[in-house]
Subunit: 272 residues, 3 copies
């Protein structure tokens, strides 16, 4: 895993983000923390030009509107032409028709390297009954040791079907290219008590795959391990009076300091 992290720090990939205004500051700071560099630009008039000077593209539909949807399509196609990896975070797919349809439209019009969401979002896109609860995965959908086999197969089949690495975060993470599936057990529960842990993971995954374009599956899995491990490190720093706001700071701090060797030792995953 360490080589994927180190390659981010060596190459400092510049990532174009078309993302929501809720967690955008955290996304920029996590990109800087992991060794990448962020640029945010969502006007259709400049979307293609900005993408062309970057190395990768992160599309997040968290607070989409007609204006930014156009920019997503334009930037996505341009990134494809440039050969840049593109990541989709289908925030809230299943929670509204606009979100589900926009995610589907993007999957049709843009060739994504990775789609990263929670299990409810992926179920919604897979056409399965999803129990999305707003922008969070529903407890009913949660991946547990009990339903792991079934969930892993769903993610693998979806990845195979859309020919795109599918990366699902939750208590147990699943990252699959349709053949191999990483099952990752890093992380801690308080990560779901801050806003933006998913969005930050998407931004960071975009940096990892941009720095490692020939190892998309492995780089995505490394980003997931790195974020989960950073969560564990952050949790250990917490004093009794610290809550979710301090945790957010510690999480970004932990990504900032995370070294390849620590990742290598701390990553907890199996490959099936």
């Amino acid at each position: 895993m360490r080589e994927y992290l180190e390659r981010v720090r060596e190459t400092s990939p510049l990532i174009h983000n078309i993302t929501n205004y809720v967690t955008v500051n955290d996304c920029a700071n996590i990109l800087l923390a992991c060794g990448g560099s962020p640029i945010m630009a969502d006007d259709p008039e400049e979307a293609e030009e900005i993408t062309s000077i970057c190395g990768g593209l992160n599309i997040n539909i968290g607070t989409l509107n007609q204006h930014t949807i156009s920019a997503m399509v334009l930037a996505g196609r341009k990134a494809n032409l440039c050969g840049h990896p593109v990541l989709l975070d289908p925030v809230g797919a299943g929670a509204s028709s606009l979100r589900t349809e926009t995610a589907r439209k993007l999957l049709e019009e843009v060739d994504f390297a990775v789609i990263r969401g929670n299990i409810s979002e992926i179920k919604a896109l897979a056409g399965e009954g999803s129990a999305a609860r707003g922008v969070d995965a529903d407890a009913v959908d949660a991946v547990t040791e009990e339903n792991l086999e079934q969930a892993a197969e769903l993610v693998r089949a979806f990845a195979a079907d859309i020919h795109t690495v599918t990366a699902v975060s939750g208590a147990i993470d699943l990252v699959s290219d349709g053949e191999k599936t990483y099952i990752i057990r890093n992380g801690c529960p308080i990560m779901s008590r801050i806003t933006g842990s998913g969005c930050m993971l998407s931004a960071m995954t975009a940096a990892y795959i941009t720095a490692n374009p020939n190892h998309v599956l492995e780089a995505a899995a490394a980003a997931f391990c790195a974020m989960g491990l950073a969560g564990e490190i952050a949790e250990k720093r917490m004093k009794p009076e610290d809550g979710n706001s301090s945790f957010r700071n510690y999480l970004i701090d932990a990504v900032y300091h995370l070294q390849g060797e620590t990742l290598e030792k701390g990553a907890r995953y199996e490959v099936r």
Copy 2:
């Protein structure tokens, strides 16, 4: 007071926020801290659908535009049809005609459970001479022990007139349903030295009234006490080198840890 806080943690209300892009991240994190769950969506095309899957709606006009104003009206009416409590934060009413008129239009077209603002904003909406200074209450308007009677009567009369619980934050808070008025003395001055303390209070109040729909007045008063008390706890944590940025983190942390018993003991209010 404790039962209103505890009911938020028990029911974890999902709150739809149409809010400004300045403090939106803090609003999301305070909702998670208090036990609720946030979703932000401001496109008119999905506003109604998103509201319908939530439990309550928080409308904040802090960086309004024509696009989001449409979404506010659509979501507000839909929430009314669904029987969800709706809160209005008329940020900057009195500072521009667009804000004052939008707040008035919303009050006409949507049935609000609570309106939460500073005293200058409420005066502007009440048609009284307001000395709004941008988005902050003006010193001239500030509620003090000296003008408390008069201010409490203004808030009570406004609440009675618009048949809506009116909740005014400041050094002394006033929360009235037109009959009973809570006078609350929690909080500390540094709360006005961070951006978003008012917006966060609105988001949290939306969660409290959504979790306690049959006790809107009491739940709003409890949210005000909880936020003020969290401010006091946060202030006690401050080290000499800590400033407003650390205070913001401590404030959200304190909400995260606040228990019903602490609120019960620490709430300082009288009812008139």
Copy 3:
């Protein structure tokens, strides 16, 4: 330098910000930290009215779109009519035609008191070959002790040409009115590892020049020294596990506590 800082705290200037949604929260908090007061409003319908109740205007094109560009022009002209100082932060000029052209258009239509950018942005506007890397200055462009003479002359000449104080931040800062040039050596490298250090500096500079309208050059230089010095103070607070997220908090905290006397002693600059 101390008098410029103290004048901000004495007058608490209200600054209208039309800025990007990435770092807007940090801009609001740094304005509060330094003693100013922020208001954000970017709808063309209210831009002029909001500006007229403020003391100064900060225009930042970080996530510009057609809608906000109109608001920038309207607010800028109105601020000129009101005699309020206006600052331009041409974020990403050189990175896209839209940004470069918008910055040029604004320079034509609005009379700016200060333009604050990184060296790549200023080179792009000066029509020199710029090596902008997204929204960050490129290493090739960086001002160093070796190329200082040349860079200082470029900034001075640009300031003289556009009759506007030009303030360039980097490892070494340059602030010139076309005659005198401040060369400032405060700051620390980690300031470039958080998002928004440039945007925050622009917002704070707007507050300083608004509080000191008859000393625009000196006030801008003081804001630069203050921000750099706050960075140094923040860096000293860092514990081994602290990263860029904690640094951001410490930076704002340091601005919050910065006193005139500390600035006077810690400011490291020469005037040529």
